[in-house]
Amino acid sequence: MKRYTCIVCPKSCEIEVSWSSAGDLEVNGNGCQRGREWITNEIRDPKRTIASSVIVEGGEREIVSVRLSSPIPRAMIFPVMDEIRKASVSAPVTAGDVIIENVLSTGADVIATSSVLAKED
């Protein structure tokens, strides 16, 4: 048996997983169905979202905060971070703007989570 902490919601349920003799996955302790889905993926292919910031050219602020639109495989975190570090955008940026589409073919977009106005001359 193995214990995991579900990270989907703040309830942080402790999920216990084990395999029956027939090889079926047994899941206990999950407070809801989302937790079951999460643990099934967590065992096979753990996924995470990340947040960072991207340089803004000609903006009122130097950077804009960004996040991924959906979780990516854990192994892709650092390669995706490299892409985020290389990126830059021109002001104005509006929250929700796609900064990098389908980053490294993960299916996730890098999106702005705040807005930056253009600098007034």
């Binding site: 995991y4 902490t5 579900c6 990270i7 919601c9 703040p10 942080s12 349920c13 402790e14 302790g29 995470r48 979202t49 990340i50 947040a51 960072s52 910031s53 340089i55 602020r61 130097e62 950077i63 905060s65 960004v66 996040r67 854990r74 975190i77 650092f78 971070m81 929250a95 989570t113 705040s114 807005s115």
Partner: protein, 409 residues
């Protein structure tokens, strides 16, 4: 002097949610006063996701959570005066507000104080040694990186396992810095379990419980720290356990405390355990007409809960200005076995209420029980209670004057 209906102090997730709720209830004269030049509170610098799961049913970042609230404020035409710091609350709810325009005096029908909390800093924890550069509170390091694009350093040690420290451990690692370890004085982590998993475990950053920094090395800039194991009960460093960690950055995430200087000045009784006002089940302080909610009342792990609490405070403030809030009796609510603190600290006995509490220890299969003498007013079973996670339990109305005890059994 300006006369206003309900004045809200602070435009964070608590203050903004309170204003929206008041507007929904038909209160028209609402004024939000915010010290900073934009609203959103601490969420502006919390760029990670994990906000809004309760309120919006999806996981969004702090800035997005804040802008949803701010948009709603704008749409409803609620007045939010930014760059306006409340510096004093006098008798009869008269506020002194400092801004670029000078000093303004505002009389409020009711006040909802939602001005958040501040970080404990190094002074509050007393590490001997030099005072070199490179020592930051986690919130300051977070603001540097997320608002101003400044990297605090390349090799960091984190003291304290509060959520901000955990989030910063991940953020620094993602940005290419090395985080050697997180050290926690207590025998349990201070931050949420989910943050231990996705901020430390994912990046193989070790967490050492019952450890603390006992010396800071370096003259101009920090060069390293000495870390010692501590006794789990007395928290005294154990001789012979010292270990040196080289670093150019020490991040302190040793906890948050409500900031209540302005309420204290208004004569509000402060609870010595929470550091926030002592309130009844209506979130009203000891001074009639002054309510408090969010991190200013007690530290919340989740913005969603801070918002929800402030909505409840708003509902009661709305009743208060109409003269319809029945404050009733004064029954004490006490934290008993296994409970570190409770909110509210007293109830009127007029109706059912909700208790927020924190556990002293991590324990499995426990029941939280709310009891008045022989009578159990409410209880809830939890497979696991953890100090870092706030618990809420509903209770039936109390009666008489006997104390209410909240315990974990």
């Amino acid at each position: 002097m300006e006369n206003r209906g309900i004045v809200i102090i602070g435009a964070g997730p608590a203050g903004l949610a309170a204003a929206i709720r008041l507007d929904e209830l038909g209160v028209r004269d609402i004024l939000i006063l915010e010290r900073e030049n934009s609203g959103g509170g601490i969420l502006r610098q919390c760029i990670h996701d994990g906000f809004g799961l309760e309120r919006y049913g999806e996981s969004i970042s702090g800035p997005e959570y804040a802008s949803r609230l701010l948009e709603e404020i704008g749409k409803r035409g609620i007045e939010c005066r930014t760059g306006s710091s409340v510096i004093d609350i006098g008798r009869d709810r008269v506020l002194t507000v400092a801004s670029a325009r000078g000093t303004e005096i505002i009389k409020a029908g009711a006040i909802i104080a939602a001005a958040g909390c501040r970080e404990r800093s190094r002074g509050a924890i007393m590490i001997p040694g030099e005072r070199p550069a490179g020592v930051y509170t986690a919130g300051t390091a977070q603001a540097y990186m997320n608002l101003y694009n400044r990297m605090p350093g390349r090799k960091a040690v984190i003291l304290g396992s509060g959520d901000i420290g955990l989030i910063m451990a991940r953020r620094l690692t993602l940005e290419g810095a090395e985080v050697s370890a997180v050290f926690e004085l207590q025998d349990h982590p201070n931050g949420l379990e989910r943050n231990i998993v996705q901020c430390l475990d994912d990046y193989s950053i070790p967490l050492y419980l019952n450890h603390t920094v006992t010396e800071i090395h370096g003259k101009e800039r920090i060069e390293g720290v000495t870390v010692s194991e501590v006794d789990s009960i007395t928290h005294k460093p154990k001789a012979g356990t010292e270990k040196y960690y080289p670093c150019d950055t020490l991040i302190l995430s040793v906890g948050l405390i409500p900031d209540n200087t302005i309420l204290e000045r208004a004569g509000v009784i402060i609870d010595p355990v929470t550091g926030g006002a002592s309130v009844d089940e209506h979130y009203m302080t000891s001074v009639p007409g002054i309510f408090s909610a969010g991190n200013m009342l007690h530290v919340h792990d989740l913005a969603d809960y801070a918002s929800a609490e402030a909505e409840a405070a708003a509902e009661n403030a709305a009743l208060y200005i109409e003269g319809k809030l029945d404050t009733g009796g004064n029954i004490r609510v006490a934290a008993a076995n296994g409970v570190s603190h409770v909110v509210p600290m007293r109830v009127s006995g007029n109706g059912p209420f909700t208790v927020s509490l924190r556990a002293c220890r991590r324990e499995r299969n426990r029941k939280v029980e709310i009891r008045q003498g022989e009578k159990v007013l409410g209880w809830h079973f939890f497979p696991l209670v953890i100090p870092s996670q706030m618990i809420t339990v509903h209770s039936d109305a109390a009666s008489g004057s006997e104390d209410i005890e909240v315990s974990i059994i």
